[in-house]
């Protein structure tokens, strides 16, 4: 099917996210606005305005009630998905680079940037669902500074109070947020910045992408690398396709080098790789800048990619995608 082009941003995309039901798609960009779209037809439902800087990251709770966003104006904001109202704002000394809800939407983890003498910090907030959500505790539930290389991405795991993080050095680690203690790490998960981390549907494994041109599937329990997908371009995002044994990788050469090279060298395609065989299956062209973020519909029926070019492209998979068995009859457990 022809992709749906979402032209709602004036600057490059930073993150896109489907809600748990997959009917809504949230996108945030460097133009300070968060948009929400109907994922099936690309109609814009509304915007979340009020941020005074690049919105770096966004996440939505499982009930699609609250939206959390982190931005370069040093704020972490809680929004009402339905009304678009800014329910609560936390302020920090530095920009918020990554946010994530836990499994049931009761907690939020956020990473703040290391800058101006402030260390990179990881904070966990309790989100109160009482009332209209405007009454939140100002102070974080837990806070700690990860030692060593700064964290770039994070997510909750199934174990209570344990988060998984990806770091600038390429390290992937498990932290206990209560004590700030590093439980486990894989220093050599990647050899360059970890750019994205997305959890599997059952939260038992995750996929990371990195500027070192590789994406890897990790077991969240022991951080063992299960699969490695090596491409020839720096990767900005990696996503898992539910119900089908594929992973989606996006990237392209650095935005700063784009103007000096032609489109064909840019490698601005979304790459589909076989999750188990570690082989590339296909590519989807379309963006004319590097792909910054990829998200897959929770039911695996469509995917969206957001690029440096300021566009989001929503692709609904054709029937053949579900029927095709490029490797014969092999049953692969999701």
């Amino acid at each position: 099917m022809r992709p749906i082009l979402l032209q709602g941003h004036e600057r490059s995309l930073t993150q896109i996210k489907f809600n748990a039901d997959g009917d809504l798609l949230f996108s945030c960009s460097k133009d300070n606005v968060i948009n929400v779209w109907y994922s099936h037809n690309g109609e814009r439902l509304g915007t979340y305005e009020g941020t005074n800087g690049t919105v770096w990251t966004v996440d939505v709770d499982p009930e699609s009630k609250y939206l959390i966003s982190g931005a370069a104006d040093n704020t972490l904001r809680l929004w009402s998905v339905r009304t678009g109202k800014n329910l609560y704002t936390w302020e920090f000394p530095t920009a918020v680079k990554r946010v994530a809800f836990n499994e049931n939407g009761t907690r939020v983890v956020c990473i703040t940037e290391q800058r101006m003498g402030h260390q990179c910090a990881i904070r966990v907030f309790q989100i109160s669902h009482e009332g209209d959500g405007t009454k939140q505790s100002k102070e974080p539930l837990y806070m700690f500074n990860p030692i060593g290389s700064k964290a770039t991405v994070c997510a909750f795991t199934l174990t209570p109070d344990v988060i998984i993080t990806g770091h600038e050095s390429g390290k992937v680690a498990l932290f206990n947020v209560k004590s700030g203690e590093e439980i486990d790490n894989n220093e050599r998960a990647h050899s360059d910045v970890v750019t994205d981390l997305q959890m599997s549907k059952d939260w038992t494994y995750c996929i990371t992408s990195s500027k070192d041109k590789a994406a890897r599937i990790h077991d969240t329990k022991n951080l063992m690398v299960i699969k490695t997908f090596t491409t020839e371009t720096p990767l900005n995002s990696a996503a898992l396709a539910p119900n089908r044994p594929y992973v989606l990788l996006g990237g392209g050469q650095e935005a700063m080098n784009v103007t000096t090279t032609s489109l064909r060298q840019g490698k601005f395609e979304t790459r589909f790789w076989h999750k188990v065989f570690e082989e590339e299956i296909g590519r989807v062209k379309g963006h004319f800048g590097p792909i910054n973020t990829i998200a897959v519909h929770p039911a695996g029926t469509s995917y969206a990619s957001g690029g440096e070019d300021g566009f989001v492209r929503v692709h609904h998979f054709d029937d053949s995608y579900f029927k095709a068995k490029p490797y014969g009859d092999l049953e692969i457990i999701d």
């Binding site: 199934l158 038992t204 077991d219 329990k221 064909r264 060298q265 188990v276 065989f277 092999l330 999701d334």
Partner: protein
């Protein structure tokens, strides 16, 4: 003072230490020489003799006093014994006497023979019994061409990426494997010898050759800071070049394999590969050149005759110097003085010539072996026209000469069998404003070498003969950008094929392919197939695979329409391609993008002759890809013909092999995939189990509840009651 030595009181034997540190006293006889050949005299003549001898000694610059001479006396006969001892002040004087007075004619019958006293003593004490020298055990050397005996008949290639060299086998997918992974360190690049026997690496210290099935070091040539090398065609000699002049430091190792002080200042060296000996060095700086002249050096600086018998070197504008091998003396003791000579080329040896020479060498016939041929050209000087000359060597007889007019530049292209010579003449119009091109083609196999001229309007950028064929291809261009290359400028070109028309005996155009960007012609080493490539462009990188005998498998049929056999087999694209090379069999083509030229998508690809991609590797820091060359076939013409005739029978066996291979590969692959899936599934099941039923149910539940439920909600938004009164 306590006695230090010899006191072995505590039972320790110090003998070894004592031996080691014992002071070696000077024997003290080094200043003593024995002079033989003294006249035998009576006592009465002693004084006169001694006076005469001291006088003679002093005359030769060796000062000696009568007191220093001792003349042994035979008391029985009362005569001298005919020799004497002379004691000098020091060893140096003794040496001087040795040099100056040995073999000195004292008078008509007596000649002095001077020897060191210590030498005489040593030889007198010499053990007379003959000891047979121990025979070194014969260790068979590895066969340097072992790779040709590969049962699958595969070719090899070398890749150089980062600091890593790999030698690969190229065959069917299951047979393509790394043949050798050498641990060579710190070198500039690698190069094969012309028949593939050796591989050379260029190190700081010099060149090293490797070979044999185990890739052992075979030879080394100590030429520090070597930058370029060139093998002779028969792999007997090697030429090395460095931009730094040779410096022989004091105390450097001397020997036939090393530079001697005489070589200082030169920078070009010729070596014998088998012995490793240095044959001769040259300097590439010509006398009279401005010392800082940044002129492009021609490489190879020394051009080899195809039989390795001669090597020639040009002094531009003056002469060609031909040296004989292996002595490296100037042939005929004089150079070929040619006023204004610009360039020259040796005629290559064709297969026919090779057979003939072999026949001549084998059986002593009266027929003389064919001489080497040299072609050179001289530009227009004053009233003299430009001239291309064919010269037989070593007879130095001029075979053919052709005058040319309005010449800007000439380039000499030999067909690889030596059947034709094409001189590409860039000519200018009278106003010298525009340049056009003539191809002067010499037919070498006919009497007096008749010349054919092909006139062209455009500038010819590249010319290439079909190996073993009668066709050639040219790249021409009338693009105004030609000659001033800029970034992003890709020059439009036309590619044309010409063939010798047997009936008319001239070269006729087969076909022109207009408006291409191709700038490189690569003929398959077996002829027939040709690849046109756009190399070194940042925007275009097309490869076109052409077949020139598409209609007829047998070229001799000939009756088909002129030029109808040209067929495009396929096109391909290798982004950023810098090098295009056929494998020695002409079945595969390798293209590579080297990090030496640019850093975009470095790596290499191998294609079949139809343009189907077989493998492609994108590897950053990729530098070099070279097929291993093959020596010429040992099969006779008849044998080859026979094989070609029975090709169908042979191919059946190969087809079967291919089929077996295919099914084998897929079976292996399927097994591998099965294993991967099993591993994955086992891991998933384990994790799911740990997750617990509850959570799974929850997840499932989410999915199940996904069925669409359409609910119509009627909402009363507003209700107003209006009372309508009449």
């Amino acid at each position: 003072m306590p006695e230090a030595t010899k006191q072995v009181d505590d039972g320790i034997d110090y003998a070894d230490i004592e031996n080691k540190y014992q002071v070696q006293y000077d024997d003290g006889f080094d200043n003593l020489v024995v002079v033989d050949g003294i006249p035998i005299i009576d006592k009465s003549k002693l004084d006169r003799l001694l006076t005469k001898i001291t006088k003679e000694f002093n005359k030769r610059g060796v000062s000696v006093k009568q007191d220093d001479i001792f003349l042994p006396w035979d008391d029985a006969s009362g005569k001298s014994k005919g020799y004497m001892f002379v004691e000098f002040k020091n060893e140096n004087d003794a040496n001087l006497a040795l040099v100056n007075l040995d073999n000195y004619p004292f008078d008509a019958r007596h000649t002095f023979r001077v020897n060191r006293f210590t030498d005489i003593e040593r030889y007198a004490d010499l053990d007379e019994t003959y000891v047979e020298p121990e025979l070194e055990e014969y260790t068979p050397r590895e066969h340097l061409r072992a790779w040709l005996a590969d049962p699958q008949g595969r070719d090899q290639y070398v890749t150089y990426r980062g600091d890593e060299v790999n030698i690969h086998w190229h065959g069917k997918p299951s047979q393509s494997e790394v043949a050798h992974k050498p641990d060579w360190k710190d070198f500039l690049y690698v190069a094969w010898s012309p028949s593939g026997t050796y591989i050379a690496t260029l190190h700081r210290q010099g060149v090293r050759l490797w070979g044999g099935p185990s890739w052992k070091p075979q030879q080394r040539f100590a030429h520090p800071l070597v930058k370029l090398i060139d093998f002779s065609p028969c792999e007997q000699y090697l030429v090395t070049w460095s931009n730094e002049p040779i410096v022989v430091p004091e105390g450097a190792v001397q020997g036939p394999q090393y530079f001697s002080p005489d070589d200082e200042g030169n920078n070009l060296a010729v070596w014998d590969i088998k012995s490793g000996d240095l044959l001769r060095t040259f300097s590439t700086y010509n006398e009279g050149d401005p010392p800082s002249g940044k002129k492009q050096m021609q490489w190879p600086a020394l051009k080899w005759s195809p039989d390795d018998k001669y090597v020639a070197r040009i002094t531009p504008g003056q002469m060609i110097s031909v040296y004989e091998l292996p002595s490296m003396y100037l042939e005929g003791k004089k150079s070929l003085k040619i006023e204004g000579v610009v360039d020259f080329e040796w005629c290559p040896l064709g297969e026919k010539d090779r057979e003939e020479t072999n026949a001549v060498n084998g059986v002593k016939t009266s027929k003389k072996a064919k001489e080497n041929t040299l072609a050179y050209w001289t530009p227009e000087v004053q009233n003299q026209p430009a001239r291309v000359t064919l010269l037989a060597f070593p007879s130095r007889a001029i075979m053919r000469q052709k005058n040319l007019f309005n010449v800007t530049e000439c380039k000499l292209y030999w067909q690889n069998q030596g059947d034709f010579l094409c001189v590409k003449v860039d000519r200018h119009t009278k106003t010298k404003k525009s340049i056009f091109c003539n191809l002067e083609i010499f037919r070498m196999r006919e009497k007096d070498c008749p010349v054919e001229v092909v006139e062209l309007k455009d500038t010819v950028m590249d010319f290439s003969w079909e190996p073993k064929g009668e066709r050639f291809a040219i790249v021409s261009s009338s693009d105004p950008n030609l000659g001033n290359p800029g970034p992003g400028v890709t020059i439009k070109t036309d590619v044309s094929f010409y063939q010798l028309d047997r009936s008319k005996n001239d070269f006729r155009l087969l076909r022109t392919l207009p408006s291409r960007t191709s700038n490189a012609i690569r003929w398959s080493p077996r002829g027939r197939h040709v690849v046109l490539a756009t190399v070194g462009s940042s925007s275009k990188s097309e490869l076109e695979f052409w077949d020139l005998d598409f209609n007829s498998d047998d070229r001799k049929e000939g009756a088909t329409e002129w030029g109808s056999g040209i067929q495009l087999l396929g096109t391909a694209d290798h982004y950023g391609v810098t090098d295009v090379e056929w494998d020695p069999s002409g079945r595969y083509l390798a293209t590579s993008a080297s990090a030496w030229t640019h850093t975009l998508e470095n790596g290499y690809a191998i294609w079949d002759f139809r343009g189907q991609e077989i493998v492609k590797f994108i590897q950053d820091r990729f530098k070099q890809f070279i097929w291993r060359p093959r020596p010429p076939t040992l099969l006779s013409k008849e044998k080859q013909k026979q094989i070609r005739k029975n090709l169908r029978e042979y191919s059946r066996a190969f087809d079967e092999e291919d089929a077996a291979e295919e099914s084998n590969v897929s079976a292996e692959l399927i097994a591998l995939r099965k294993r991967l899936v099993d591993e994955w599934n086992a891991w998933r099941i384990l994790r799911k189990k740990e997750l617990g039923e509850e959570r799974l149910q929850k997840l499932k539940g989410k999915e199940d509840s996904k069925e669409e439920i359409e609910v119509w909600v009627d909402e009363v938004i507003e209700q107003t009651e209006e009372i309508i009164t009449e």
